[in-house]
């Protein structure tokens, strides 16, 4: 986010006049609404907000926001965003990408944008499938996914976007899913983070990969399967009404996380970890925490800002310019020169 003046808008001010063209029931609709609802709450200005995307279903997103938008080429949105931000750091940039766009063809650019820490929000819509090209398996598809290109099931292991981002040096990792009511809170936290904020948003592709996240996203039993992380609060999930209150603790012997039962509210006694968004070691464990034995870690997993790329680049540019002569005439005549006089007389070197 930027230190620019906030303004008052409503959700309507963020809806463009373009007809939304996702499949009926697509998770993208819910994400679009969540973003449009978030923008007024953070005081964002449509004139200084730019949505930049690559190619894929998710990348149509900019057309539906009544801000500035640039729908670029497959996988390269991070590079376009870098050029935009370095040219005008006042612009508030949201990158919209998907698991194919951001993790496959554009994995390289995702990594470098995060490593450089360009100040922007990266929303990666992960539906574990190629939607726009009609259902091929993606780099985040689970092993065994059958698709037109993997009729016998995919054999390669899936990539984990959040783990990839953290490994690339991310200073903010957020996670949510399309229909979650908490998604705007994650978006707000990402926007409040100065630097590259990576948000993995699980998104239901109802045509090619329907309900692949139902295990944890279904409302029924959600509290047992979702761990919503809050800074300064113990990592608790479940309830007495379901399978009992549980917590995430450190297995000191194995140096891994473990699930512990919490009885009578004594989470301290059970050794439940208090979430510290600046703890990078715990963040590494959270992004790798397998769903199944563990709940899905959601919310703000990690948030510890450090200086941004554009500040460093533009700061260095400004320093290099300080007190320097910017006379083009002098630049052209730089180096070793000589003068030819009218009478073709002796030459003088400089």
């Amino acid at each position: 986010m930027n230190a620019i003046a906030t303004i008052t808008t409503t959700l309507k001010d963020w809806e463009s006049d373009q007809e939304v063209r996702w499949c009926p029931g697509c998770g993208d609709y819910a994400i679009l609404k969540a973003v449009q609802r978030t923008m007024p709450e953070i005081g964002a200005n449509p004139a200084t907000t730019v949505f930049v995307s690559g190619i894929g279903c998710s990348s149509r997103f900019p057309y539906y926001m009544a801000s500035y938008g640039f729908h670029t080429i497959h996988g390269r949105a991070p590079a376009f965003a870098t050029g935009i931000k370095l040219s005008n750091p006042e612009l508030d940039i949201w990158l919209v990408t998907g698991d194919g766009d951001g993790m496959s063809i554009g994995g390289n650019h995702t990594m470098h944008l995060i490593r450089r820490n360009l100040n922007c929000q990266i929303m990666l819509f992960n539906n574990e499938i190629y939607g726009l090209t009609k259902g091929q398996y993606s780099p985040t598809s689970r092993q065994g996914t059958t698709s037109p290109t993997t009729p016998l099931g995919s054999v390669d292991r899936p990539a984990s976007p959040a783990a990839f981002a953290l490994g690339s040096g991310a200073r903010f990792i957020g996670r949510g899913f399309d229909v979650s009511k908490h998604l705007p809170d994650v978006l707000k936290a990402a926007h409040a983070h100065r630097g590259a904020a990576f948000i993995e948003i699980f998104q239901n592709c109802i045509v090619y990969n329907k309900d692949v996240f139902e295990d944890f996203a279904a409302p029924k039993g959600a509290e047992d399967r979702q761990l919503w992380l809050k800074n300064g609060e113990p990592m608790l999930f479940g309830s007495d009404k379901t399978g009992g209150v549980k917590g995430i603790a450190l297995d000191a012997e194995k140096l891994t996380l473990k699930v512990v039962d919490v009885t009578d509210g004594d989470w301290q006694g059970a050794g439940v970890i208090v979430h510290d968004v600046t703890n990078r070691s715990v963040a590494h464990m959270l992004v790798e925490m397998p769903f199944g034995p563990f709940p899905m870690a959601l919310g703000v997993l990690y948030d510890d800002p450090r200086p941004t790329y554009e500040d460093a680049v533009l700061g260095q540019d400004a320093q290099a310019r300080e007190g320097k002569n910017t006379d083009l005439r002098k630049l052209l005549a730089k180096g070793q020169t000589w003068t030819v006089s009218e009478d073709q007389g002796p030459l003088s070197g400089v």
């Binding site: 729908h71 080429i73 050029g83 612009l91 680049v313 070793q336 030819v340």
Partner: protein
């Protein structure tokens, strides 16, 4: 450099009009440095010159090997010089490998200066000599001056107590000293330069100066069997003014800075290291005070993507690469065409395809520049003919890009990028500004915004994100001709494809009519060139005209769109010959555009054309060439010239 059809003054043995010297040695011997300093000394003596650095792709190839030879050729003289010269008059060979790879190019009767200290058994073996060529008579058609430069250098730097290896590094300065004596040059600028270069190590400065002086003194005093003569070249009568030496890479960097200033824009340069284009990024990285931001991207695609992003945000986006990198940028160029954003793409061409010949020159990316993208994707293409010309071409690329809201390709090549020539420093006050304008209020009826409405040139408005009230979305999908909203309809695609083509075609209205740079505007033969073949074509045509042949030289800067009168001009000649360093690409474009019977003269050896090669091709179009043996008319054939064997075996 400016050229004119001037006949050379009669030359005498020790007062020739031009001399070609080639310094050749191991890639660690400092030949490029020696050549560079000799060039500077030529400039300070008022000689015109052209240089040709020719070095291996390997940074430090194994010592003494044939493929590790690095050479620097300079043609300098008291008349106008357009090329680095065909055959050297003098070859300085610092080891057997340098002799072997370069001696074939030497003029018969030319002078070889060889360092016998390096003609050891081991080095001779590495150079694949069975016996020392200095002793076995195989160099009989040349004059050979062989002496132990290594030992003489060691002797001259003895007082400074350097290690053997460091002491031998001074060899190149000893050799330079000898060359300075041969051509009657002042040593003072070199002494100043060495003092500055080794400011932090005065002992090294002293040693190098001592070696330089020793080489000079050797020429002055040694008994060299009458083979070594002092040669004096008079200064070239040039227009008065300030001059400097400039390479193509420097000229492109300076031209881009000037172009951005004339457009009243800041520049964003996205690049990725690649030979021979990297030096443009290097130069610009040091020019931040001129409103330049440079970005070394993670790859070629990111480099152009960031540049397009910068243009979208209101800067002048520029990217630069060589053939393989340009190939990677193709999809992003299409997006710049589709979204109609300004962008300058510099291609320093090298031998291809694929990795090809990274350090050698070629002009084989013309098809790629004109046609090499998916879809109907027209893009203006400009080519530079010489290092100095690259400055003007870079400004022209900036003008077209910003005035027409289009990506523009600027073609240079490895030869132009690395070669140096004297350059009359221009006065920025004489440049015509072309300030860019940005839309700041709605341009449609009833306060609506039409991001793809067009002006009289066919250009759309440039709208910076951050401008209140003008929010809109752009992208690579086909769009409505006015609103720019997604529109796949048949009518929209037809209209937008036509509009993009008409806009780029219309650039021809803003460029000068094609002129004839030497000769008449009609006649028997037009030799048509583009890019760095300018020099050899010009000299070949000059020589042919001096023999009375009806031949003209047409040099085309604007490759796409072509000048509007070019077709008529070509049709006013009986024959059209197109020499180019590829297998005939521009020839095909001319045939396609004008249905003229353009004939190719091609060369793809990684070396520039020699003047003589083009002269010979011209001669085949004439029955009786005065001064040559007459004969029946030789049909112009599709000549594929052989490579120069001597270049690199």
């Amino acid at each position: 450099m400016a050229t004119q059809l001037a006949e050379p003054a009669a030359s005498t043995k020790n007062h020739p009009e031009a001399v070609v010297v080639r310094f050749a040695g191991d890639s660690g011997d400092g030949m490029q440095l020696t050549g560079g300093q000799f060039t500077l000394s030529s400039a300070l003596s008022g000689n015109d010159f052209a240089t040709f650095p020719d070095f291996p792709a390997e940074i430090r190839a194994p010592q003494g090997t044939l493929f590790g030879v690095s050479a620097f050729q300079i043609n300098f003289g008291s008349t106008e010089i357009d090329t680095a010269g065909d055959a050297p008059d003098v070859l300085v060979a610092m080891n057997p490998a340098a002799l072997k790879t370069n001696v074939g190019a030497l003029k018969p009767g030319g002078l070889i200066i060889a360092d016998t200290g390096e003609f050891t058994k081991r080095n001779l073996e590495k150079a694949k000599y069975d016996a020392s060529p200095i002793d076995d008579g195989s160099l009989a058609k040349w004059k050979v001056l062989a002496f132990d430069i290594s030992a003489l250098t060691l002797e001259s730097v003895k007082p400074f107590g350097l290690g053997n290896k460091e002491a031998l590094r001074c060899k190149n300065m000893w050799t330079l000293g000898l060359a300075l004596w041969m051509f009657d040059r002042d040593r003072a600028p070199l002494v100043d330069w060495l003092n500055a270069k080794f400011r932090k190590n005065p002992v090294l400065a002293e040693a190098n100066i001592a070696a330089l002086n020793a080489g000079h003194a050797y020429g002055e005093t040694a008994e060299l069997g009458g083979q070594l003569h002092k040669v004096h070249l008079d200064p070239v009568p040039s227009p008065a003014g300030l001059y400097r030496t400039i390479t193509g890479a420097e000229a492109v960097a300076l031209g881009l800075v000037a172009g951005a200033q004339l457009a009243d824009l800041k520049m964003f340069f996205g690049g990725y290291p690649i030979t021979p284009a990297s030096s443009i990024l290097h130069y610009l990285a040091g020019m931040k005070e001129f409103g330049v931001t440079t970005f070394q991207a993670e790859d070629e695609i990111a480099a152009i993507a960031a540049a397009i992003g910068a243009s979208y945000a209101g800067h002048l986006g520029v990217t630069s690469s060589s053939g393989p990198g340009i190939a990677l940028k193709g999809e992003a160029m299409g997006l710049a065409v589709m979204t109609e954003l300004p962008l300058v793409i510099v291609n320093s061409q090298r031998g291809g395809p694929s990795t090809g010949l990274p350090t050698k020159t070629e002009q084989s990316d013309l098809y790629q520049a004109v046609y090499g993208r998916n879809g109907d994707t027209p893009m203006p293409v400009i080519s530079a003919r010489s290092p100095g010309d690259a400055f003007e071409c870079a400004i022209e690329a900036c003008r077209i890009a910003t005035q027409y809201m289009t990506p523009v390709i600027l073609l240079t090549d490895g030869y132009i990028a690395n070669a140096a020539e004297p350059w009359a420093v221009p006065d920025p006050a004489t440049f015509e500004p072309f300030p860019a304008t940005f839309l700041d209020k709605p341009n449609g009826p009833d306060g609506t915004l039409l991001p793809y409405a067009r002006d009289e040139k066919g250009a759309r408005p440039w709208i910076k994100p951050g401008t209140p009230g003008l929010m809109h979305r752009i992208g690579g999908i086909e769009k409505n001709p006015g609103t720019g909203n997604l529109d796949y309809s048949p009518a929209a695609h037809q209209a937008m494809t036509d509009a993009r083509k008409a806009k780029v075609d219309g650039v021809a209205k803003s460029i000068p009519a094609q002129d004839v740079c030497l000769g008449n505007t009609s006649g028997k033969l037009a030799v048509v060139g583009w890019g760095s073949t300018f020099g050899p074509i010009h000299q070949a045509v000059r020589k042919a005209r001096a023999k009375g042949l009806d031949v003209s030289h047409i040099h085309v800067r604007h490759i796409w769109p072509l000048p509007e009168n070019l077709g008529d001009l070509l049709r006013s000649f009986d024959k059209v010959l197109v020499p180019e360093m590829n297998t005939g690409q521009f020839k095909t474009v001319l045939r396609d555009q004008y249905l003229v019977d353009a004939q190719p003269l091609t060369k793809v050896s990684g070396q520039p054309f020699a003047i003589a090669e083009i002269e010979a091709a011209i001669a085949t179009y004439f029955d009786h060439v005065p001064g040559n043996a007459g004969g029946d008319e030789i049909a112009p054939n599709e000549t594929q010239l052989p490579s120069i064997e001597s270049a690199n075996p």
